[in-house]
């Protein structure tokens, strides 16, 4: 399973992801510069965290028009796997590959903190290692992470089980106090109808290395390795 990590000017968490995919899991990983248009060499495309184009105007607003995004759209349409983390999720919604939008956090401040997430859809490549309802403890680091979509879209996401993870408390409940940024329905991550494109605001890649104290996020990436075995 070959991993391609997209780098826009302003992306700044590409190495954090590579430390997991290649460092911990040994998957061949390469960085894809935003002007590239050929993704044939990557089975999985990851859009990592950062401030693409400085996040000026809107997070991901300018990145969406980079040459590589056309190739990412085609990769997704062919059924290829795409993961958008934080800024990557924002770019995917701006590009229309995922519904809705990420707006400013409810209390107007950047938040870097650890949160509980409840796994909702465990059929995707990324959440296959967890069981539905499982609660994991991973960090968030964003200023515009409040998920918004019109009521019909929200209804469709819930009906098709396209919500992948929700902000919850340690017991897996979803009181308002656990809604860290005001997202509708506590949504922290969603997938497209087909399930091959996933976007989430939290950073599982910063909770993988046991040497740093917490590895709840490692299973998130291990799905790719088991999938690779299924391929060979």
């Amino acid at each position: 399973m070959k991993i391609g990590i997209v780098v826009f000017p302003g992306t700044n968490r590409e190495r954090d992801v590579a430390q997991v995919t290649e460092g911990l899991l040994g998957c061949p990983t390469q960085f894809l510069w935003h002007q590239q248009t050929d993704l044939s060499d990557s089975d999985v495309v990851i859009l990592p965290g950062g401030f693409s184009y400085g996040d000026y105007l809107r997070c991901g607003a300018v990145a969406r028009f980079s040459p590589i995004m056309q190739a990412v759209r085609q990769h997704a349409e062919r059924g290829g796997y795409v993961l958008g983390i934080c800024n990557g999720f924002q770019v995917l919604t701006e590009a229309g590959l995922l519904p809705g939008a990420l707006v400013r956090n409810r209390d107007l401040k950047f938040i870097c903190d650890w949160v509980h997430l409840r796994l909702e859809n465990t059929r995707s490549l990324w959440t296959r290692g967890y069981h539905a309802g499982q609660v994991i403890y991973v960090p968030v680091a964003h200023g515009e992470g409040c998920y918004y979509a019109d009521p019909d879209t929200i209804q469709r996401l819930e009906d098709n089980q396209q919500v992948v993870v929700r902000y919850s408390d340690a017991q897996g409940e979803c009181p308002d106090a656990a809604n860290i940024n005001g997202s509708l329905n506590h949504i922290a991550g969603i997938c497209n109808q087909r399930g091959n494109v996933v976007g989430l605001m939290p950073h599982p890649e910063n909770a993988c290395d046991p040497a740093l104290g917490n590895s709840d996020g490692l299973k998130f990436f291990e799905g790719m390795v088991t999938e690779a075995l299924a391929f060979t």
């Binding site: 000017p9 302003g10 700044n12 968490r13 190495r15 954090d16 430390q19 965290g49 950062g50 401030f51 184009y53 400085g54 996040d55 000026y56 401040k109 950047f110 938040i111 870097c112 903190d113 960090p139 680091a141 200023g143 950073h203 890649e205 910063n206 290395d209 040497a211 740093l212 104290g213």
Partner: protein, 666 residues
């Protein structure tokens, strides 16, 4: 011999340029002629305390600056320390106090941007930043506005540029009401074979201007009378620069890529006073000259005068000297990253700074006159402590009423902003990016991040910034020692061996005898403690004239210190871990209530003599603590600081989510 011809400048112009009459005379003697207006502007900035340390140089001379692990000491853009196995760490601290009072967000943001450039200009990738902040009391809306703006600025810039903000300290006291302190510290890991120096070399080598375009920003507020600027109305000339973290992130990647080609001879960040400072310092450090043509410098605005070009403080700009013939190779790299890059001049044999504009020479002065020959003021130091100190030392603890309710006292202390949790602030900082953060803000007395060698060896780097300015105010000598001792203690509490210091000396006006006495005594204490504890000073920053309506702030010599953890698993945090664990006090109990937070918060008094530091005892306590951590005897360690033993116990209990029972025998 002073020239017979009259000076072309009025007294107001000199005053606006913060040059005294005899400083002007010294310029005339050095040049053997009157300077023109552009040259006067350059001398005004290069002879400011910020650039030449004219008041503090005599006091800094006795800092210890060498040691087995010190690769680069004071004089370069940042200090560099050897962490073993090829790991070389660059670090430095710098202040942006005055701009942050004018525009808190941009003042703090550009402070972070500036200190990061000092790191990567050495060839190091920035891997962490810390900040030491001081504000007036939070019940005043103006102070709240400055505090929230500064935190948002550090968050906005640091998070976007992708460097984790892993630690720091925040104090609140009336003394900072009109004059907040924003000191930013940055740490980097060398990525180039050779450490990049700033001295220009090789006559004929091209001088490259790289990074952002140049505008008129940062001119309005600086020490320039409006007469010198073109007819731009005041409304259009902002006093503060606006930072662009997105462009800085590109600059980091482009510069590191450029350094690795080996085509760069020297590099320097355009910090305070941009082109003036970089051209003169690079020339004088290399013993050569630099000729630069302003017509080639990419400008953001039309019709800028030479004066404005030379003194503009636009952000995110660097000056390089490249090997002749390899400049295009470098220009290609910067253009690929979407950045400006032009050959704006060349290295010349005569040790001059020669600036061309619109085809004519507008500046031609020997470089060393700007950098080395600035005046140095060795002022007399008071032989007796000033009246306020003597009065404080006579304070008698017996006059103090015993509190009736100790619980009430503890709750009041824990509720005072200087002691209370700083999570409201550090929750806005991304402390996890780059994936190497181990001890996070609030978890330990110092921050710890992982360093990894190419061969897979991992080691810990611990960092902290510390200073109790009330101690320094009431006894500068002991206060200076205490700041160094506390920084070392915080590193030892996470299991790290203290290695080296960078300092940010924030003081009032040196022209006031009591302030100069505070400076001299604090520096004496700092150098004694640094020598004894084996933590040499590798550089730093001096910020003077921190006053409001003539009232100087408390003397605040902030100490930034880094330490080594050979074994990453053997690190320690401050929260209690298990029920039944025993609590030990290392070192003597007791001491004094003089200058304590208890006196300030409960009795609203800032008086008494602060505790005296016994450095031998300090060394023993710290090495015992470090040994205990490596032997796994110790599972949590916390330094006793503001609020004393009572608050330290409470903090360890709160962070550990456990209780503690202690008997105190008389």
């Amino acid at each position: 011999m002073v020239l017979a011809s009259p000076s072309p400048f009025t007294a107001e112009q000199l005053q606006a340029h913060r040059l005294t009459p005899n400083e002007y005379e010294q310029i005339v003697r050095l040049l053997d002629r009157h300077p023109n207006l552009n040259e006067l502007g350059m001398f005004s900035v290069m002879w400011s305390e910020h650039c030449c340390y004219k008041n503090s140089k005599p006091l800094l001379r006795n800092f210890p600056t060498t040691g087995p692990k010190i690769l680069v000491g004071p004089g370069e853009n940042a200090g560099v320390v050897d962490f073993g196995d090829g790991l070389r760490v660059a670090f430095k601290i710098e202040s942006h106090n005055h701009p942050s009072a004018v525009e808190p967000y941009q003042g703090a943001a550009t402070g972070v941007g500036g200190i990061l450039r000092d790191i990567f200009t050495m060839g190091a990738r920035p891997i962490a930043s810390l900040n030491a902040l001081r504000f007036g009391p939070l019940d005043n809306p103006r102070n709240r506005h400055i505090f929230s703006g500064v935190v948002a600025g550090i968050s906005g810039y640091g998070n976007s540029v992708g460097v984790p903000t892993i630690g720091g300290e925040i104090y609140f006291d009336e003394t900072y009401s009109g004059n907040p302190l924003v000191n930013a510290m940055a740490i980097g890991l060398m990525e180039t074979e050779e450490i990049v120096v700033s001295g220009a070399q090789g006559v004929g080598n091209p001088v490259l201007y790289v990074g952002s375009t140049t505008g008129r920003d940062g001119m309005g507020g600086a020490s320039f009378a409006s007469a010198e600027l073109t007819d731009k109305s005041e409304k259009d000339r902002p006093a503060v620069q606006v930072g662009d973290p997105f462009l800085e992130k590109l600059l980091i990647e482009a510069c590191l890529e450029a350094f690795k080609t080996g085509a760069v001879v020297a590099a320097q960040d355009m910090g305070a006073a941009g082109l003036t400072c970089s051209t003169s310092e690079m020339a004088s450090k290399g013993g050569v000259g630099i000729e630069l043509d302003l017509d080639i410098v990419p400008a953001r605005e039309k019709g800028m005068s030479a004066y404005e070009f030379l003194l503009s403080e636009s952000q995110e700009r660097m000056l390089f000297v490249a090997h002749k013939g390899r400049e295009d190779e470098l220009i290609e790299i910067f253009h690929r990253w979407g950045l400006q890059a032009v050959v704006a001049g060349r290295v010349i044999a005569q040790p001059l700074v020669r600036i061309l504009h619109k085809g004519s020479v507008v500046v031609e002065v020997p470089a060393t006159t700007l950098t080395e020959e600035a005046p140095v003021y060795a002022r007399a130091v008071l032989t007796e402590p000033p009246a306020y100190v003597q009065e404080a030392w006579n304070w008698d603890v017996q006059t103090l009423a015993q509190p009736s309710d100790w619980t009430e006292v503890l709750l009041k202390l824990l509720d005072s902003p200087t002691i209370a949790s700083k999570k409201w602030a550090y929750r806005q900082y991304d402390c996890l990016i780059q994936g190497n953060s181990l001890v996070l803000p609030g978890a330990g007395d110092a921050a710890v991040i992982r360093l990894q060698t190419v061969t897979g060896i991992s080691r810990g780097l611990a960092a902290t910034v510390d200073c109790n300015s009330r101690y320094v105010y009431l006894d500068p000598y002991e206060g200076g020692k205490a700041a160094v001792a506390e920084a070392a203690r915080n590193l030892s509490c996470v299991g790290a061996e203290p290695i080296a210091v960078t300092d940010n000396l924030n003081f009032g006006s040196p022209e006031k005898p009591e302030v100069y006495w505070q400076m001299a005594e604090a520096c004496r204490g700092i150098s004694e403690a640094c020598s004894f504890l084996g933590t040499p000073v590798t550089g730093g920053n001096v910020s003077l004239y921190n006053e409001t309506h003539g009232q100087p702030i408390y003397p605040t010599p902030v100490i930034g210190m880094v330490g080594i953890l050979d074994n990453l698993e053997k690190h320690c945090t401050l929260g209690f871990k298990k029920v039944g664990d025993l609590v030990y006090l290392l070192g003597q109990a007791g001491g004094t209530l003089g200058a304590s937070e208890y006196l300030k918060v409960i009795h609203e008094m800032a008086t008494g003599r602060p505790p005296r530091i016994n450095l031998t005892q300090e060394q023993k306590v710290q090495s015992t603590c470090r040994l205990g951590i490596t032997q796994d005897w110790i599972c949590s360690a916390h330094d006793i600081a503001e609020g004393g033993l009572l608050v330290a116990l409470a903090e360890s209990a709160i962070v550990g989510d456990l209780g503690v029972q202690v008997e105190v025998s008389d």
